[in-house]
Amino acid sequence: MASEPMNGAQIVIKALVDQGVDVVFGYPGGAVLPIYDALFKQNKLRHILVRQEGGAVHAAEGYARSTGKVGVVLVTSGPGATNAVTGLTDALMDSVPIVCLTGQVPTHLIGNDAFQECDTTGITRPCTKHNYLVKDANRLAQTLHEAFYVARSGRPGPVVVDIPKDIQFADCPYAGPGNVKHKTYRPQVKGDTRKIGQAVEMIAKARRPVIYGGGGIINSGPKASKLFTQFVKMTGAPTTLTLMGLGALPASDERFLGMVGMHGTYEANLAMHECDVMLCVAARFDDRVTGRLDAFAPGAKKIHIDIDPTSINKNVAVDLGIVGDVANVLEEMIGIWKAEKKTVDKKAVAAWWKKIDGWRKRDSLKFNTDKKLIKPQQAIKRLYEMTLDREIFITTEVGQHQMWAAQHFRFEKPNHWMTSGGLGTMGYGLPAAIGVQLAHPKALVVDIAGEASIMMNIQEIATAVQYRLPVKLFIINNEYMGMVRQWQELLHGGRYSESYSAALPDFVKLAESFGAVGLRATRPDELDDVIRTMIETDNMVIADIAVDPKENCFPMIPSGAAHNEILLGPEDEAEKPVSEDGMVLV
């Protein structure tokens, strides 16, 4: 393959194009100027200029989660790289495939405290799946291809490639992606057939089965969600999903119990507590899901399928762990189930469903409406109902609004729900929505936001406006860091220390000053009109929805409590004080 000699910067562009990248989120600076120059001279890659590097990583996350492709970030050395750290950590926690290219001072200056030097590989080592410092121009192309391979293979995650400026200028050889056969990193994707057979056996024998699916199903790709849904239907087992797993089973499926965990439904949590066999599919027994560990599903035999062996037996000891890609493992499970003509114990499972239906009747997500005040749940519910006929992607910030969105917005498909689950990063939703909108230009993309969170990356409005991305900010404005206030109410005697959102901007004027459209609803009878106008406006919109500032998010399993100690509403709160052990937990 004879080609014209290229310098490192050109190699970077070529490698990205050959990896199928069409958009890069970035911000320029001294240490990446050669790459920006190479970007300028080509038209295969689109560069989206964010307004802060943190925004670039979240935008790449939104792009990646909504497409299944690797999201790409380009930032400069020093502050460019350090600003990316939160996004990288977020992507690591939620297993989002990201390749982040960082500029670095020239190799001969490394270690000299040069201008805008920082130890990028040192700083990002614990918050990436892997990282590289390219010191040899001959290895640049291969390193870049390897970075993509590592980011997307196995359990996906963020990979940093730190590229000193002299390498960007140096003439380098180029080789295409080919078939990267990594020397050491070859994650196990096929499950152990014997164990899969055992799993099938355990589920067929269950009297009170529960399937608990997580974000790994989404990460594995749409096929995994299809197979998951198929398996749920075949077995008829009651099924719950984690925050990250929403969409893996259509919310309209009658077997779906709603979300599990701290703000999950009554029926999902009690079913987890009382099941006799639990099939965990690509979830990770996070503390937000398990509640108090020693009281977690005490009578259940547990099966865990995950591509990452470290997730198995980490928090909860399981009876059967299967390492492999969920799509592969589910396919094999379905095959065995069919071949051996398995059925569940119909009578026992019918009785189990009867019990669950009793819990369902409590209608744990119900809320009261009010004549004067918009209820936050009501705002989200109306948004859901009024957009049923559209292709809609939802992102969120972090707080009560995020939990209400997870509870009241119902997802029928995977990859349509983007939220910061593991790290809980306020400021995620707006840049993530920008990334989603770029990947899906025709779709409706809404960031369900809180008024406090949105201030964390508010500068990204300019990005949306610059690229004419009609992202919608739907701000559930309760004038509080509501989730903080709720915990202060529950644990700290209602002393609302620093959790009031003072000196808020006028979001309507703010929108207008950026060249976006601002809307506001303050009364319930204004809500539908604002939502209608918002979704019909072909422009970036900020809809400021003034909601009841006192509303709390229920159900809630206080930290340190067990699933069956779930609080259903404010009445429960007074009756069941939080334990001292629970207080210290986050």
Partner: protein, 167 residues
């Protein structure tokens, strides 16, 4: 709470910058114990290094440690020597003893009993070199401490499985 076990784990890694930092960062970041850690290149051609880690934890933690190590990208293989059958562990100690008169003579006698060699000598000091199991080194060092001013350097533990099977 299950019992705390002590395991010796051998890890073959790519000999590349940062790999040791990854391993150490993993242990400190996740709160695992390191009783001993040694590292050295073992093959120039393949650019391989071998890290030997002695750690303690419940069986569940030990499993976690191995799985966590195994998923680091530049790691070739992880072997739990303690689990995989009989193995040998060795450590080197260099022990400086500053003493005169009978103490000095006694130090030489004890060194002889332990099979330590004299690596350096002056009129008022010896440096002994001793190779063996860590417990043997502990015993030797304790005796030497009683005889005079001491300075101790220990290598940390290296381990290898007995028998013909090679990694």
């Amino acid at each position: 709470m299950s019992d705390i076990e002590r395991h010796t784990i051998a890890v073959l890694v790519d000999n590349e910058p940062g790999v040791l930092a990854r391993v150490i960062g993993l242990f400190s970041g996740r709160g695992y114990n390191i009783e001993s850690l040694t590292v050295s290149a073992v093959s120039k051609d393949e650019a391989l290094s071998r890290i030997t880690i002695v750690t303690t934890g419940t069986p569940m933690i030990i499993e976690q440690i191995k799985a966590q190590l195994d998923r680091l990208v530049p790691i070739h293989s992880v072997h739990d020597l303690t689990d995989e059958g009989a193995h040998i562990e060795r450590e080197v100690a260099l022990v400086k003893v500053v003493a005169n008169g009978p103490e000095r003579r006694e130090s030489l006698r004890i060194a002889d009993i332990f099979g330590a060699t004299v690596a350096d000598t002056t009129i008022e000091s010896f440096v002994f070199s001793l190779t063996g199991k860590p417990e043997k080194l502990d015993a030797f060092i304790e005796l030497m401490r009683a005889l005079g001013k001491t300075e101790i350097a220990r290598s940390g533990i290296v381990g290898i499985a007995r028998g013909a099977k090679a990694l």
